[in-house]
Symmetry: C2
Subunit: 342 residues, 2 copies
């Protein structure tokens, strides 16, 4: 392969401002694509689908075949780690995830070493994708962050996380240890993904909303710092994108205290916040998936607005949350054309 | 009655910093109190209970008989306005609110004049409470803010508000007009409450989370400004507490652009945000109701922390969200003792 310039996404994460921001969408591999639905129909069990490297690699690559996205993100799920640590995880059709009884902390701690090996299929997915990816495209690995994953583990499924937050109050030592166990297993999982070809790592704190500052420190900042620190100790140089969703008011503190290359912003991020963050970090976001689905002149106007407010700094165009299953493909095409000019 | 110093809550709203902050709790009149449950059992229909001035006044006063709270907040519901505008509203036992078909905008606009009269019982509740309230206690009136109330009206009940947000994108003119109708009826309702004895008015934007900045401007800032402006035109001098819940990242913009005396903060408010707001406004909040329910040394520590971080400025102690029904009364007593020293 001839030497090529770094891919646009990597350039922005390294500190550059590009004339046209790189773009990818959360859940760009997903149900809004008919080819994804066809693929997924062949593997009814969702966890098995994630562990099927050939199928997951195909799902990862599908959006890149159709759209000029700048990145592929490995097809996987944030709840693979609980499974690897010994908690049963399954998906009921048409409902959210379900999790079995939470193993003891000692039992999970004893599984950390083995857990990464149990996720080897995801490494294989990354290798398969990497081999097929054009050099100007960036491969992203990811994991759910400890609080988000831990809250599913404690609650046994989707929830308002009030039981998990109560657990943090009533059993602080146990909660901190759960965060430690998840931080260590997550760091090793992400390191394995980097070893398998992931050039960027994204940490999804999907449910950071509503946390008081003391809990945000204990459940988000501290575990994220541990993960980033452990990645360094494990020799990983891939830049990290942190996504503390629903916590825009803490984003500047997060950026100052966790050594991430970029902060992903959700739909509710003020323009000024992003601009302040851009002085020290790349930012990513934050088009409303509901507006992408709705389309129309409001969508075009809002994309222009995002480009105007953040395009002058280090910026990765993305949604503020995952693309919705019933999003018209024409709307995705329209935004890509508007952002890339292609 | 002899001349007395203004009540502590009013002093803070007028700009004073007190040695010990005034304190009240959202939903302080509610199911965690056995005397409330006994009262409520006599009126199975919740909307009828809100419209029964004698019962609602009794519910309003119950927490003041038991605890040294500095304020009483009229017992009512944010969904009384849709009912007054002609949309059917009812509560199913054990579930959330239900709303019938949304009337046409023209039909609702034609009902604005009449809507305030249909809420006269709430004015009567306030008069009854006022007559029994000690002069050092403050009587608070309130209303749900247009976006929050409008989202229930569009969705037909509790939801993630995605249909309402989509409506704002797909039917911007209709949505803006709905906000106008609700702003006008809300302003008149609040003015009637002030005329009936409310000394402070609180505007509950309970569901401000997740809004992109353009929608936050259209659906929160603009309607709140209209309400505050109309209150002035109607001769109301009672200070307004604005509560854009879930939108801490927009709180400073909100405070700068809406002429409120105080900004109420939810559980996820950083210490520094509150301190910046205190330079120009009183702030209120933001103890986690889950921590109040959990109790223990963590609760005591957190109350100390809130007092330390915000007690040096204009501060009204409160929760970041409503008190939970299964909160032990002893925990409420403990916090009141800690905050008031009484």
């Amino acid at each position: 392969m001839t030497q090529t310039a770094p891919a646009p996404l990597l350039r922005v994460l390294a500190g550059e401002t590009l004339n046209s921001p790189p773009i990818w969408f959360m859940r760009q591999a997903g149900r809004y694509l008919p080819e994804y639905r066809a693929l997924r129909a062949r593997a009814p069990d969702f966890i098995a689908f994630c562990h099927n490297s050939e199928m997951a690699a195909e799902a990862t690559l599908q959006p890149l075949r159709r759209f000029p996205f700048d990145a592929a993100i490995v097809f996987a799920d944030i709840l693979l780690i609980p499974g690897a640590l010994g908690q049963k995880v399954w998906f009921e059709a048409g409902e959210g995830p379900r999790l079995g009884e939470l193993p003891s902390l000692d039992a999970m701690a004893a599984e950390i070493d083995a857990s990464t090996g149990r996720l080897a299929n995801i490494g294989k997915t990354l290798s398969l994708v990497k081999a097929q990816l054009a050099p100007d495209k960036t491969l992203i690995g990811f994991a759910g962050a400890p609080w988000t994953v831990g809250s599913y583990m404690i609650e046994g499924g989707s929830s308002d996380r009030s039981r998990a937050r109560t657990y943090a109050y009533e059993h602080p030592a146990a909660m901190d240890r759960l965060m430690d166990i998840l931080s260590e297993s997550t760091a090793r999982y992400l390191a394995m993904q980097a070893d398998s070809g992931a050039e960027v790592l994204k940490l999804f704190e999907s449910w950071a909303e509503g946390l008081p500052e003391d809990l945000f420190e204990r459940l988000v900042i501290r575990p994220h710092r541990m993960i980033v620190q452990r990645l360094k100790e494990l020799g990983v140089t891939a830049p990290v994108i942190g996504f503390p969703r629903g916590a825009a008011a803490y984003a500047e503190r997060y950026a100052a205290e966790v050594d991430v290359a970029a902060v992903a912003l959700d739909t509710a991020a003020p323009a000024g916040l992003g601009q302040r963050l851009q002085k020290t970090h790349a930012i990513q976001g934050a088009l409303d998936p509901l507006l992408l689905r709705a389309g129309g002149p409001g969508l075009e106007r809002r994309v222009d607005e995002l480009l105007a407010q953040w395009g002058g700094g280090r910026y990765i165009f993305n949604l503020g949350h995952g693309i919705l299953p019933d999003t018209p493909i024409a709307h995705v095409e329209q935004v890509l054309k508007q952002v890339t000019g292609r």
